[in-house]
Amino acid sequence: MMRWWHVISIRCVLLGLASITNLRAQQPASTTTAADVQGSMLFASNCGSCHGSDGRGGEHGPDIATDSDVQRLADSDLIAIAKNGVAGTGMPAFGWLGQEKLTSIVQYLRTLQRGQIDIKLPGNPKSGEALFFGRARCSECHMVNGKGGFIGSDLSLYGAAESAGQIRSVVVDPEKNLPPQKKATTVVSHTGQKFTGMLKVDDNFSVSIQTMDGNFLFFQKSQLTHIDLGSYSLMPANYGATLNDEQINDLVSYLLHVGSENSKRSPTQSSKSDRDDE
């Protein structure tokens, strides 16, 4: 018999799923198959309590929805992990569920990883691409498909895991909407010198940051009087003023489109090929 907290958690999860579905109203309910339902229920009852009902991490388990390392794993690898567990991490083995149910779970996880299945683009991705590499100067810091800067995140897969609304909110108000790990860290030395960059290492004894020129700076915490982790966004705060609504939609559309395209490609597929064999 199912324990009471299981029942509650499944109900909560299903309620949560229902509300997510409502938010993503672009996707007609009729496209949901029986397999999807089975996968979502199995996910909720076996995985959600640790990994969160949206797979984005919980108290006991890591994010398996948006983490690109997990996204890149083959279905067979994910099934093997679910089946055998991961020794030493608290991830139990679910082999007793059987291959069919494990496959349903992984299929459902893929839908969580993809976000919306049918992406309705709010603007023109071509124009967005031109903005990204041109006037909006996003590529000075961010890379997409091997082109662009290095100090910001590689956004090649960013749009695969985020909604249009989330991307838009980060573009328009990064200060408010970027998570701390995507913001700059500032440290101040004993002599009052201030250094700012992206955080690379933080432990009890040291901090390392990378500055805009690519250099890594290594500090002993004993050398510092002040450490402000994830203090503020390096992104321009005024896209809402310098770009009009249509342009922001184009930018968002480009990131959604390129992310979606890249997520369809297996990581073992190369971006180039040179089959000149004889």
Binding site: Q193, V201, D213, M235
Partner: protein, 544 residues
């Protein structure tokens, strides 16, 4: 997205004001990722170790002098890096400007070389469905040029990453027409090209060395190691057997910029143990190839083991040594080969100078003639098995040798052992090995690792240091200007010995079998020695 302008100005101002060796209250280190192209040409390895063997000569000789035979007994582990996703690490780290770059399977990491802390991590799952060596997901390291980093994946893709972030810039599948190809090596940068080879020599692929434009990822040239129909050497490859002849290029080569020549070894022929389908010498397998780096044209070749039937790959590091030889300064090439002989060649023209047996047990040949051709005994694999020495792992293997400019001796780990070789003809099949049967260990045979020191002047073994252990290690050697030889022993220890005498001076239990080669670097005036062991990488230094 775009930086705030004010912030950029502020950062530039701060960056400019940061002293490289600051006072206590300032950051002690500012480290720029990447390498200057000119640095790769240096023949002196000091603070940085910018490529797989340290420099293009393959000597693995560090000019750092902080650690000496007198103080090495105080040597201590400084940090351990643990790879979570890899099998056994065979990587040699590359270190430039205090940043260490390592690979573990298909993942790459940039580490703070002083602390082992991860600065970035590029991750890609291991490939499914690979066979044989490629299914071990081994990666021996990276190549660096400018702010770009290059690595090979287990399924023979060449990846170009941004060395500042680990972001993928491009990815070229360079051997995707036969799924028996794989890759385990570190690429080699020569001028503006990045050179890559493959594994799969036991699995019926056609070996090649390929050069890619380091910026665009476009193929510059490809040199096939098995001649096609009508080409010189093709008489060994009837029908379409040239497509499955082996001769793979699975270790980094060496390079002489003055002679504008790359030296690259090739693996055994395939099928390994059935020579009946590949009559003659089986060019260019088990050979050393001298190649023009600009065109990929073969300048000359030297074949160590013609018509190899014993899996005697010729991929051991071809070490480039300039020394007085028989009274004259010569540009030599020294290679301790898997077939049990140490070869000396004139690297300007490939002329054979000498071959000295170093394994005590050699029965496939009685010697090497004046032209460098082995005098074979006609022992060959049979359906019922034939005992042949050296055995299938060779009398040495891919792990690094070292030539010391301090002692003028050549060091490497030798294997003593034999195997029973069997043959059973079978056709090539994609997805399966192409050994045409196999080998087994001789139960009466005692295998052993021996650290050897070879004097190329006198062509004698200067000293032997036999290793206790279970013969499961695959340990490389590195020497230093202070007369030390660092090596991985056969009982999980990393050791330092006196390069003149072979006397052990220091050892450390890594707790795992070593399958890697050591290297040395310095940061902030402190010398380190690093080596991978099992799934970890250790870095050692003297106490403060």
């Amino acid at each position: 997205m775009r930086l705030k302008r004010r912030w950029l100005i502020a950062v530039c101002a701060y960056t400019l004001s940061i002293p490289l060796r600051g006072q206590d209250s300032e950051p002690s280190l500012v480290r720029a990722p990447g390498v200057q192209a000119s640095q790769l040409l240096s023949r002196t390895i000091k603070d940085d170790w910018p490529s797989y063997n340290g420099d293009y000569t393959g000597r693995r000789f560090s000019s750092l002098t902080q650690i000496t035979p007198q103080n090495v007994r105080h040597f201590q582990a400084q940090w351990v890096f643990h790879s979570r996703n890899a099998g056994i690490l065979e990587v040699t780290p590359v270190v430039v400007n205090g940043i260490m770059y390592v690979t573990a399977s298909n993942d790459a990491y940039a580490l703070n070389a002083q602390t082992g802390q991860i600065l970035w991590h590029y991750s890609r799952p291991v490939s499914q469905g690979l066979i044989d060596d490629a299914s071990g997901h081994i990666s021996r390291g990276v190549a660096l040029l400018g702010t770009r980093l290059y690595m090979e994946t287990d399924n023979a893709h060449l990846l170009c990453l941004d060395a500042r972030s680990g972001n993928l810039i491009w990815d070229v599948a360079y051997a995707d027409w036969n799924k028996n190809y794989g890759a385990t090596s570190a690429p080699l940068i020569v001028k503006d090209k990045v050179l890559v080879g493959t594994s799969g020599g036991d699995d019926g692929v056609r070996g090649f060395l390929a050069a890619y434009d380091s910026t665009s990822g476009k193929l510059a040239w490809r040199l096939w190691t098995i001649p096609g129909p009508g080409e010189f050497g093709s008489s060994s490859w009837p029908g379409d057997s040239y497509l499955h002849g082996g001769g793979t290029t699975w270790m980094p080569g060496t390079y002489d910029p003055e002679l504008n020549t790359i030296y690259w070894g090739t693996s055994n022929a395939a099928p390994d143990y059935d020579g009946s389908v590949r009559p003659g010498d089986d060019l260019y397998t088990a050979s050393l190839l001298a190649i023009d780096p600009d065109t990929g044209k073969l300048k000359w070749y030297f074949q160590f083991t013609p018509h190899d039937l014993y899996d005697y790959d010729g991929v051991e590091t071809p070490v480039l040594v300039d020394m007085q030889y028989q009274g004259k300064p010569r540009k030599l090439l020294i290679e301790a080969n898997r077939n049990g002989f140490i070869y000396l060649l004139d690297r300007t023209n490939g002329k054979f100078l000498s071959a000295t047996p170093f394994a005590k047990k050699i029965n496939w040949a009685t010697g090497v003639d004046a032209n460098g051709r082995p005098i074979v005994t006609d022992l060959k694999p049979t359906p019922d098995g034939t005992l042949i020495c050296p055995g299938v792992v060779g009398a040495t293997n891919w792990f690094s040798p070292s030539y010391s400019e301090a002692t003028h001796l050549f060091y490497f780990l030798a294997f003593e052992g034999c195997s029973v070789y069997f043959v059973k003809p079978a056709p090539f099949e994609e997805g399966r090995g192409y050994y045409s049967t196999g080998t087994k260990h001789d139960p009466n045979d005692k295998t052993q690792r021996v650290l050897l020191s070879f004097d190329p002047q006198t062509k004698t073994i200067a000293w032997r240091y036999p290793q206790a252990g279970d013969s499961h290690s695959w340990g490389g050697v590195m020497t230093t200007a202070t007369g030390l030889v660092f090596f991985a022993d056969d009982a999980n220890f990393f050791e330092a010995a006196d390069a003149k005498t072979g006397k052990s001076l220091w050892h450390f239990n890594t707790g795992q079998t070593l399958h890697a080669s050591p290297m040395s670097y310095a940061v902030g005036g402190k010398q380190y020695v690093a080596i991978a062991s099992g799934v970890d990488l250790f870095s050692f230094a003297l106490p403060e």
